[in-house]
Symmetry: C3
Subunit: 478 residues, 3 copies
């Protein structure tokens, strides 16, 4: 989940060759330490298990978003969350993955070394990365290590891709959504990923701008969540609010979700999968920081849910289930970047702050005319950004030596008296909310222009519910 990763992957890839040559045997190449090889094999297993957990998060997003929206759109909302997995996947498989991780114009080639771990010649120019990947890793020379890494990365991309399906729910044309899915997997997600985890200019800002260890984002508060949240905001703005969301007086009205237990089940599934998201981002079962990461993740989520319960009760008088869900998700999103770099007390504090931030952001956006049916912008955009900054505040210097190839002895935030890491984080956040947001806003605007009737569903469909006109079936039948 950063340029340091290739070390493990490279090792695993090399081990892979040895193992492939001798499958079914316990013998290993003479020049490979069998203990190292065994550790690499187990590490690759951990990455694959992590990928599987993250893929299951798609079910969580689907249930949260469908539960928090109206019955008349349930088949459509569920289906966007279902189809996005394959749409983003296909875009990423053929274009996005090599774009993000083969390097080229975005700067130093982060994962190129991993891609070449099987001993083939290095990748160079702009399109070579894609061609190299296509000819080699989709072909007979496919390396298990790189395919395992791909699987983990494609699951992260799909998380980003599914975030706007929440903020744009109940009024988004199916065909327009389909194009978003392909675009996100092929182009949108890979951009910021290349600049950071792919070893690009933000990763190297320690070198070029003396900013801490460069942009540090352990499992993607920024790379996945804030980038997804930026798309969610752009999409919600371009679509405009749902019919009936704002009264004639311009005041927002509540449109209650149709199935609270469904949404809560979704949140449980997200919590479950998040351990794969964060803890397997060590890329190595031999780096036992995965246990610290897992505990910090649980702490932030648990604290987030309870703080949200108290905060919303204080604000409205009731422990709103929707806010408890969003409070837990807020904590999970915010801890995702700093989870490996902070002490448990800081994880609790991050969860606390994130829950309050999230609730305030929900109300703020609603007041400002942004209709986000599930709170995706508040959860992923706002708390994702906070998570990015939290690294620069709370990192305790105990982990992350050599991150991004820097000479850092451990990532340190301002609690350790170092402000330069916060600079790298703030730069990353700024890039997301300017360049990346600008790209996705332009994408939706242009798509809206080019699409006959725009990307928003016809008014009659929206009022009747999208299920029958878009999907041809109702979600529920008696």
């Amino acid at each position: 989940m950063r340029t340091r990763a290739p070390k493990y992957l490279l090792g695993a890839a090399v081990g892979a060759v040895a193992a492939t040559l001798l499958i079914g045997s316990t013998a290993f190449a003479a020049d490979e330490d069998p203990i190292v090889v065994l550790g690499q094999q187990t590490s690759l297993l951990w990455v694959v298990i992590g990928a599987v957990l993250v893929i299951f998060m798609q079910a969580g997003f689907a249930l949260v978003e469908t539960g928090f929206t109206q019955k008349k759109n349930a088949a459509e909302v569920m289906s966007t969350n279902f189809a996005i997995f394959g749409l983003g996947f296909i875009g990423f498989l053929f274009v996005g993955f090599p774009l993000a991780f083969a390097g080229f114009s975005y700067g130093p080639m982060g994962l190129t070394s991993a891609m070449n771990g099987d001993g083939l010649p290095a990748v160079g120019g702009e399109f070579t990365g894609i061609l190299y990947w296509g000819y080699n890793h989709l072909g007979d020379a496919a390396s298990p290590a790189l395919l395992g890494f791909f699987l983990y990365m494609v699951a992260f991309m799909d998380t980003t891709a599914t975030i706007p399906t929440g903020s744009m729910a109940e009024r988004w044309k199916w065909k327009s959504f389909v194009i978003w899915g392909l675009f996100c997997g092929a182009v949108y997600y890979p951009l910021f990923a290349a600049w950071t985890w792919g070893g690009g200019w933000l990763a190297k800002s320690w070198e070029t701008m003396s900013l801490g260890a460069g942009y540090v984002d352990f499992a993607g508060s920024g790379v996945v969540h804030a980038v997804g949240g930026a798309a969610a905001l752009a999409g919600a703005i371009v679509l405009g609010p749902r019919i009936g969301k704002y009264g004639p007086d311009g005041k927002p009205r509540a449109i209650p979700g149709h199935n609270i237990p469904m949404a809560m089940l979704g949140c449980f599934i997200l919590l479950f999968g998040w351990f794969g998201f964060n803890a397997a981002s060590t890329f190595a079962s031999t780096d036992i920081q995965f246990a610290t990461v897992a505990a910090n993740t649980a702490i932030a989520g648990a604290v987030g849910s309870i703080v949200a319960m108290y905060y919303i009760t204080w604000r409205t008088g009731k422990p709103d289930p929707g806010m408890m869900v969003n409070g837990m998700l807020a904590g999970l999103v915010a801890i995702t970047a700093p989870c490996a770099f902070v002490a448990p007390w800081a994880a609790a504090l991050i969860g606390l702050i994130a829950a309050v931030l999230c609730i305030e952001a929900v109300f703020f956006l609603e007041r400002r005319g942004v209709d986000d049916p599930v709170g995706a912008v508040a959860v992923h955009g706002v708390c994702g950004t906070f998570g990015v900054l939290a690294v620069g505040i709370f990192a305790n210097g105990k982990y992350g030596a050599g991150w991004n190839g820097s000479s850092s002895e451990g990532v340190e935030g301002i609690i350790k008296g170092d402000w330069s890491q916060l600079g790298a984080q703030a730069l990353g956040a700024l890039v997301i909310w300017t360049i990346i947001f600008g790209i996705v806003f332009a994408f939706f605007k242009i798509q809206n222009k080019l699409t006959k009737g725009g990307i928003r569903s016809p008014e009659a469909d929206e009022i009747a519910g999208l299920d029958i006109p878009e999907m041809g079936v109702a979600a529920y039948n008696d």
Copy 2:
């Protein structure tokens, strides 16, 4: 998942003895390489984790089938999928497992070596296998390695057992279903499993008929899915279509499922569990082909879902959620046999073909009078058979050296110019659709004769819904 497996299992079993003798200690027997032992322990862990994932697939099947059927039968459909776990399990625990994997009359004894890994004398005659298992592995001499293997295998059997609960839904008597569950676990599933994974005559067809490396089925497109699909077809034929499925003109009518989000959640759970199904079929964490398998599985499922979306839109004008679900499942079923033997591009192509095949099969079967409420025959029967054949077409020779005890240097399909593997696969498919189908068809026919009133629910119950008459409760209460 084949006769080569015992190597790992045997090793693990041996390691088990060493470890058992020294539990709680990090010391090992002097004549065992501790690195090998550690790899075996981790491999056994991988098999157990795989088993747990496959067991969870029962929930996926339950939700897909219940969501795609009517509200008035929801408690009954859900309950068949729930009870089948225990019914099949009990049949397999006491009879089916040793029948499949202790060998005897079916030919060379595949897993006998694993069963004897603890140094006890070899199993011989027809009933000895069952007795041996009963007295040893259900008793105090139970070996952790074999119990772990049992757990993985019982989960596969239960997948087969649950497939007909879909095609036979909404008109199957509970008591008749119960007998199916026991029969499937004890007898039906073990037959083809013994002939293939158990080291039987189909596994040995490389030796007896010069067919490639013998029948090759990495994780069970044939052994699990097509065998289950054959039972699903036989059962649907014997039961006949649901009342109202065909109009007076004989034309099929749509009977919409009662809960689309439920079915989609089920599909997500199946996708999740499928990684255990396929990737843990390496039986070894030290065989990093598990990563290739996992990636290929995801690729086929993702492509299947999107191809189905486009294909059904082209055919009917709407991206039917049910067909997206079946398209993903079609891709997953089809890649299950070839997942370890093909390049990622072939996995994508297999997913593409499977999705189209599945949709066409749904329409074909419906036109031909087979009422399969959830598309189980199309998904598991047709795409499972295609998956078996796909090994013989797309295998690239990079994996599977020594499979089934053959001298193969890697399983090769016709894309590598070798047609003999396709012969072995076609023979396996033929056996499923003749002998195995014949057995299960006869089973349902005879059961129908012997059961008072037949195995189909009384007409009044079917019209009112099976929940109250069969289960005594309604699925939903206000």
Copy 3:
């Protein structure tokens, strides 16, 4: 899951230090055997994966309880199960965990050695444990190994905490529930845990009272389930039955659950997570007894579900889905203590007995005026107690050498002619149903006194349903 555990944890902790010092490197401290270190790292991974599975069980409990209760309370019941995760977690994080596992007044300090695995000075007096934990493991000196262990243990505590939300459902004030959550995590759960897994006086009863190997409870039939069941009983008694549960004639009436498929999905999730609960309680991937544990767990659950089906059909004429669910859970609860110590045949028998016990207990409690909407007392209280005793009956002496620091060569029950282990188990069960039950009964009684209007919801709220008055939203909206 017992005082022997520290050995592994201690080792892992030591390995952790070595690995932390050399993160990203495959080199290790010269005085550590790299094979041992690799085994410890993988073992810690297994504990973390186990924790993740157990945390997911919260979703299972939520669905079972919500499905088995009424629609008008669905948002509230689901929300209690959601919020309990964070409430218990916070209580346990800051107070309960060090209370349970830092030792002090409860007797010899079981896990103190693990807590000191990083070389810091030993913990001594009563409050020092909490302070030590707070200053060290929530701070910069946090050890991955101990945080991984914490994560596993907090998940167990939350299982206990969530059990009363079932028996007390549909009539429990939200604010009173919140206090229970914090109390359970901080005080209630840690008591019995300290006396057993924490190395307290029940663990040491082999020494002080010559009772077998002391109290033996592999994964918590007693420590988690019976302790939770005791709270469930106390809470149900203090609250009294729901309005309408008993007719004017005093006879119980059925109040059917509102969503049977939801409850069955919940049971599947519980089955899935239970493998983490039981099998990861080896604390070591190098102790392959985890495979035996996993198989025994599945056997007891499968047999339990089918025996319940037959038993309830024999008793009432219908294979009630609710009883099938409770039968599986009964088997799982009962096998939790003995799973590592018994042969598979005994696991089957334990599942069989538990299912019958559970059904009879449901009817018995209902007749005696205890209104437990989901059968939590029968499942967790009664079958948990049976599981504790089952160790003393069926343990076969093949596992558990040196348990609780005893000189035992393997835990033996009366089937091996040893009655002293049953004595230790009976003592544990007695303590749960006297001291522990007394504490929790007093807690609810006192809370009821101190709370204005008592801890039970106002009658009008209960009749209307708790969703709107307590949570401010309905569970379902059209």
